[in-house]
């Protein structure tokens, strides 16, 4: 477990959080190597399908970073995300995937420090949760012992 290096997909919106990530980088702030950034134009583009796809191919955690409410480049996009993620998390919990594995945060273009803080804290919480593929689709032994 100590050697567990999580794989985390971070969907970052072009206008705010991706720029914030850039700022963190140019400011030489330490960002965990567990994070794989995928740039989208708006956090509203992150459909439930994308999050489930990331999880199904082995992501241990999915981070969605968007503009603060009211600041969305496309006005309403991040509100759509705001409605979607709580319902998705409720559903994931029923599917045995801890709600903590998906997180929605707002990070603006000037918040390089916040980007670093969010990615570090999320990576740590995923490390604590462990790999998400524990037990998934594991083949059972042929004989089921009597109860």
């Amino acid at each position: 477990m100590d050697n567990f290096e999580p794989k985390i997909v971070a969907f970052c919106c072009n206008w705010c959080s991706y720029a914030g990530a850039d700022l963190a980088g140019t400011s030489r702030m330490q960002c965990p190597s567990a994070i794989r950034i995928i740039r989208v134009m708006c956090s509203g583009r992150v459909s439930p399908f994308l999050v489930l796809k990331a999880l199904s191919v082995g992501a241990d955690g999915v981070l969605i970073l968007g503009c603060h409410p009211g600041d969305c480049h496309y006005i309403e996009g991040n509100y759509k995300t705001l409605r979607r993620i709580p319902l998705l998390k409720k559903m994931l919990k029923q599917l045995g995937i801890e709600e903590e594995r998906v997180r929605l945060e707002w990070v603006s273009a000037s918040e390089g420090a916040r980007f670093t803080e969010v990615t570090n804290s999320f990576t740590q919480s995923i490390k604590n949760l462990g790999s998400s593929t524990l037990g998934h689709l594991k083949q059972s032994s042929k004989e089921v012992k009597h109860g």
């Binding site: 439930p48 489930l52 409605r83 995937i97």
Partner: protein, 319 residues
């Protein structure tokens, strides 16, 4: 002209797809004129050994219904695939897993514990489970292995066509049979239905604006008979379900439950419905949004009611 040879089989099925095939009523006589049914356990006495004796590719088409739950289902799927030129996943179980697919919320151990020990009317003090092999005084008996995870037909063998529905309605069944009889088959992989769009296109209810402040369970309201059920707060799945059935459930004042599978091009029907429902929630306030979501009692079971095995995650993860 030689008659077509057609086989029909049921895996983890309820038999509804057999009744759905009979639901073409008098058209079955047209089918009988042009086709011989070489295997159909519900109605004919041919056995597995008869199928094993058939030449490969000697059956023109196999209508396979039911999900792949156990070793026998898998064996028959592979056997019939080898013996048939065309393999059709007929009905939601073969196409997406359907209701038996809900078992993917659990696993074999949890299922067996409940079925053979915990159920109130079961008396099994020695806690005996069915075994794949058991010795009796005369010899040895075997039954198929029960898998942890329900699979769809296409996850087991190569499938040529899909006929959606639980079960497919008469018009959908006839669309598929007519294609077989006439030889005018669509491209391989086609989901055979009258529609590629969402059920809303067929539904006679009037649609205005979708803005929902509260979701209701079907017994909580008496819906207006003319208006869209989703707009009235019922969890109507029509928005994310392929049409072709004629919108029968909404016309019975009940929300669509999604049995015709996803709209053309959609991979994960549950994710699609989740996104659609989220987009009509009429609020930007996190607390209010949470209250609205709290009114949906069983998101995973409702969104993946028929499609859990075919979803991206395929099953719940059990530690």
């Amino acid at each position: 002209m030689a008659k077509l040879k057609i086989a029909l089989y049921w895996a983890a099925s309820c038999g509804g797809c057999e009744i759905a095939t009979l639901a073409i009523h008098e058209k079955i006589l047209k089918l009988a004129e042009v086709a011989d049914i070489v295997f159909w356990p519900v109605g004919l006495d041919f056995k597995y050994a008869d199928v094993e004796r058939m030449e490969d590719n000697s059956v023109d088409a196999c209508l396979f219904n039911g999900a792949i739950r156990n070793e026998e289902n898998e064996y028959m799927a592979k056997l019939l695939r080898a013996k048939s030129k065309i393999m059709i996943a007929y009905g939601s179980c073969a196409y997406e897993g359907c209701i038996p697919g809900l078992s993917n919320f659990y696993n074999r151990q949890l299922t067996f514990d409940r079925v053979y020990i915990e159920t109130p009317s079961t008396e099994n003090p020695k806690k005996i489970f069915p075994q794949t092999k058991v010795k009796v005084p005369e010899g040895e008996l075997d039954i198929p292995e029960f898998y942890d995870t329900v699979k769809t037909l296409a996850q087991t063998v190569d499938v040529d066509y899909f006929v959606p529905g639980c079960p497919p309605e008469e018009r959908t069944t006839w669309l598929a049979l007519e294609a077989l009889i006439s030889g005018k088959l669509p491209p391989k992989g086609t989901v055979i239905s009258h529609s590629v769009k969402a059920l809303c296109e067929e539904c006679p209810r009037t649609r205005e604006e979708k803005k929902v402040k509260k979701f209701y369970r079907p017994y909580e309201i008496i819906p207006d008979p003319e208006k869209c059920l989703l707009e009235q707060g019922l969890l109507c799945y029509g928005i994310a379900t392929r049409g072709g059935c004629g919108a029968l459930c909404p016309q019975a004042n009940m929300p669509c439950t999604g049995c015709y599978g996803p709209v053309e091009g959609v991979i994960d029907q549950g994710a699609h419905f989740l996104g659609a429902l989220s987009s009509i929630i009429d609020s930007n306030d996190p607390e209010e949004i949470q209250r609205i979501i709290d009114d949906i009692p069983d998101p995973a079971g409702t969104f993946y009611r028929y499609s859990l095995p075919d979803s991206l995650l395929r099953r719940a993860r059990i530690k």
